[in-house]
C-alpha cells in the first residue's frame, strides 16, 4: 500500500500543478518587460499595472455595484422564502421549492437569451427598455443568484434547533422579536455563506450579462473577455492578476470562516 499511497500523492501533485498553471502564467505574463506578449518574458516590470485603462476600473465598479444590488434584492426575496419553505405549510411546497431553485439548473447562457427575449417583448408592450441598462442587469442577476441564498437558508433551517425559538416564545417573546433576535442571528453564518457565493456568481457572470449589455459601460469580466478576443496585452494579465489575488484572499478567508475544509469532518466520517 506504500506504493499506492506514493502514486496517489504524485497524482495529486500533478493535478495541483495543472490547477495552478493558467493562474501562474497570468501572473508571470503580467510582469513581463516587453510590450509584445512573449513567454518567457526577458525581464521584469511592474509598469503594466500603472497602465490599466480607466474602463477596467469603471467595469470593476459596475460589477461590484451590480453584485451588491443583486444580492441585496435577492436577500429580501430569498431569506423570507427560505423561512416559508422550511417552516411553513405551503401547498405544493416541493413544486415551489423546485421552481425557486430552478435558475441553478438553467445554463447562464440560456438565462441570458431568456431575459433578452423577455425584455424585448416588454419593450414592445410597454415601451420600457430593459435589455441594455443597469435595471435589466439587476433583474437578471437577482433572479440568477437568489437560489444560492435560498438553498443556504433552507439547508441551515433544516438542522435548526426549534427548542431555541420555543423557549423564547415560552417566555413571552413576540414572533417578530424571536425572528430578529434569535432565528436570524443563529442562521447568519449560513446567510453570509450564501451571500458570498451569490456575490461571486454575479460578479463573474459573463454568459447572461453578454446579452444584456449592448452599448456603453461593460462589467469587468466582460471587458476582459472582449479585449482578449481582439489582442492579448500585458495590461490584461495585470488586471487578471489583481482580480485573482483579491478573489483568492477573499475565498481563503471565506473557506476558513464558513468551515468549508474537509479536514476534521472527513476523518470522522471515514472512521465511522
Amino acid at each position: 500500500m506504500k506504493l499506492v499511497s506514493g502514486l496517489l500523492t504524485l497524482w495529486a501533485g500533478l493535478i495541483a500543478a495543472f490547477l495552478l498553471a493558467p493562474l501562474a502564467i497570468v501572473l508571470i505574463n503580467s510582469v513581463g518587460v516587453e510590450q509584445y506578449v512573449i513567454f518567457p518574458p526577458s525581464g521584469f516590470s511592474f509598469r503594466w499595472y500603472g497602465e490599466i485603462p480607466d474602463y477596467y476600473v469603471d467595469g470593476a465598479i459596475l460589477s461590484i455595484a451590480l453584485a451588491f444590488v443583486a444580492i441585496s434584492v435577492a436577500s429580501l426575496l430569498a431569506i423570507p422564502a427560505g423561512l416559508a419553505i422550511a417552516r411553513g405549510s405551503l401547498p405544493g411546497r416541493s413544486l415551489i421549492d423546485a421552481l425557486l431553485r430552478s435558475p441553478i439548473q438553467i445554463p447562464l447562457l440560456i438565462s441570458g437569451v431568456a431575459f433578452l427575449q423577455f425584455f424585448t417583448l416588454v419593450r414592445g408592450w410597454t415601451g420600457v427598455g430593459l435589455a441594455d441598462g443597469f435595471l435589466g442587469l439587476v433583474i437578471a442577476h437577482t433572479i440568477v443568484v437568489s437560489p444560492y441564498l435560498l438553498v443556504a437558508v433552507v439547508a441551515r433551517l433544516a438542522r435548526y434547533p426549534d427548542a431555541l425559538d420555543e423557549a423564547a416564545y415560552g417566555m413571552g417573546a413576540s414572533r417578530l422579536r424571536v425572528l430578529f433576535t434569535i432565528t436570524l442571528p443563529v442562521i447568519a453564518p449560513a446567510i453570509a455563506s450564501g451571500l458570498f457565493f451569490a456575490f461571486l456568481m454575479s460578479f463573474d457572470n459573463v454568459p447572461t450579462t453578454v446579452f444584456l449589455i449592448q452599448s456603453g459601460q461593460t462589467t469587468l469580466p466582460l471587458a476582459l473577455f472582449f479585449d482578449t478576443e481582439l489582442d492579448l496585452s500585458r495590461v490584461q494579465y495585470a488586471v487578471g492578476t489583481i482580480v485573482t489575488l483579491i478573489s483568492t484572499a477573499v475565498i481563503l478567508l471565506a473557506m476558513r470562516r464558513f468551515d468549508l475544509l474537509p479536514s476534521a469532518r472527513a476523518g470522522q466520517r471515514a472512521a465511522a
Binding site: 499506492v4 499511497s5 496517489l8 500523492t9 495529486a12 493535478i15 495541483a16 490547477l19 495552478l20 498553471a21 493558467p22 493562474l23 502564467i25 497570468v26 512573449i38 429580501l76 430569498a78 423570507p80 422564502a81 423561512l83 416559508a84 417552516r87 411553513g88 405549510s89 415551489i96 421552481l99 425557486l100 430552478s102 435558475p103 439548473q105 445554463p107 447562457l109 440560456i110 437569451v113 427575449q117 423577455f118 437577482t142 433572479i143 437568489s146 435560498l150 416564545y169 459573463v206 454568459p207 453578454v210 446579452f211 473577455f225 482578449t228 492579448l232 490584461q236 487578471g240 482580480v243 478573489s247 483568492t248 468549508l260 475544509l261 474537509p262 479536514s263 472527513a266 466520517r269 471515514a270
Partner: protein, 282 residues
C-alpha cells in the same frame, strides 16, 4: 404552539418575482422558437415548426450540437480520470498536503472564468509554454495546434470542470467505510482488485451524478469554448450567441436555446432519477 401557515406569506415576494419575470422569460424564448423570423430581432405572429426543421437539416447547427456532445463526453472522461483518484486521495489521506490540494481546487473553481480562459489561451498558444516545452524536448518539430481545436478545448474544459467532479465524488467516497477496504485487503485483494470490486461499485452513484453534472455544464458552457475554442469550433452555445447578437435571428437563436435547454433538463432529470433509485436500493 404557533400555527405554521403564517410563515407561508414570506414566500410571496420571491414566488411573485419568479411568476412575473422568470417564468415569462423562459416561456418567451421557448415560444419565440415556434414563430418565424421577420427581421432583425423580430418574429411574426404565426405558429410554425420551420425553425426546428431548419436546425435539424442544417449542417452547421447539427455539427455544433454533435461537437457540444462530443466535448461533453471528453470532459466527463477527463475529469473522471483526473478526479476519481484525487477524490479518493483527499478522502482517505486528509494530510496537510491533501487539504492544500483541496483548497487549491476550491480557489480554482471560484476564480474568474475569464481569467482562467486568458491563462489557457496563453498556455495553449503556438508560442506558448506547452509547445515550447515539447519542441525543446525534441518531441515535436513544429508547434502542434492546441488553439481552436478539440484537444486544447478539452484540456481547458477539464480544468474548469474538475472541481465540480471532485466535490461531487468526495462525500460519496467519504461515506464508504474504510473497514470494507480493509476486509478486502485482508482477503488478499490488492489495490486494483479492491478498487474495482469494492470502492468503484459503492461510489457509482457519485460517479453517475458527477458525470451527468459535468456533461450538462459542459454542453452549455460559453466562456471557455469561445475564448479557447474560438470561432473555428462552432459549438451550440457559440451559435446561439451568434444568432442572437450578430445576425439578430431571434427565432433561430431561441430554437437552438430551446434544444440546448431540453438536453440539459433531460440530463438533470436523468441525474435525479439515478440518484433516487440508487438511494432506494442502497
Amino acid at each position: 404552539m404557533m400555527s405554521r401557515s403564517v410563515w407561508n406569506w414570506l414566500a410571496l415576494p420571491m414566488v411573485l418575482a419568479f411568476a412575473a419575470i422568470f417564468i415569462p422569460a423562459i416561456a418567451s424564448f421557448v415560444l419565440t422558437s415556434f414563430h418565424p423570423s421577420t427581421g432583425l430581432g423580430e418574429v411574426g405572429p404565426e405558429w410554425t415548426l420551420d425553425n426546428y426543421v431548419r436546425v435539424f437539416n442544417d449542417e452547421t447547427f447539427m455539427l455544433g450540437l454533435a461537437r457540444s456532445v462530443q466535448l461533453g463526453i471528453f470532459t466527463v472522461l477527463g475529469t473522471l480520470i483526473l478526479g476519481a483518484p484525487l477524490a479518493y486521495f483527499i478522502a482517505r489521506q486528509p494530510s496537510r498536503f491533501a487539504i492544500g490540494v483541496f483548497t487549491l481546487l476550491y480557489v480554482s473553481s471560484l476564480t474568474s472564468i475569464v481569467i482562467r480562459g486568458l491563462g489557457w489561451i496563453t498556455l495553449l498558444g503556438n508560442n506558448g509554454p506547452i509547445n515550447q516545452a515539447l519542441m525543446g524536448l525534441g518531441l515535436i518539430e513544429a508547434p502542434i495546434g492546441l488553439q481552436g481545436n478539440m484537444l486544447g478545448l478539452t484540456i481547458a474544459m477539464v480544468h474548469y470542470m474538475l472541481p465540480f467532479m471532485v466535490l461531487t465524488l468526495l462525500p460519496v467516497v467519504q461515506s464508504i467505510p474504510t473497514s470494507l477496504e480493509e476486509a478486502s485487503a485482508g482477503l488478499g485483494g490488492g489495490f486494483v482488485r479492491t478498487a474495482r470490486s469494492v470502492v468503484i461499485p459503492l461510489a457509482m452513484p457519485g460517479i453517475v451524478a458527477g458525470a451527468l453534472l459535468v456533461f450538462a455544464m459542459t454542453i452549455s458552457a460559453f466562456v471557455i469554448p469561445r475564448m479557447v475554442g474560438g470561432s473555428t469550433l462552432r459549438l451550440t452555445s457559440l451559435l446561439i450567441d451568434q444568432q442572437m447578437l450578430t445576425t439578430y435571428n431571434y427565432a433561430l437563436g431561441a430554437t437552438l436555446a430551446t434544444i440546448l435547454l431540453a438536453l440539459v433538463v433531460g440530463v438533470v432529470v436523468l441525474s435525479n432519477l439515478a440518484t433516487r433509485s440508487r438511494v432506494r436500493v442502497g
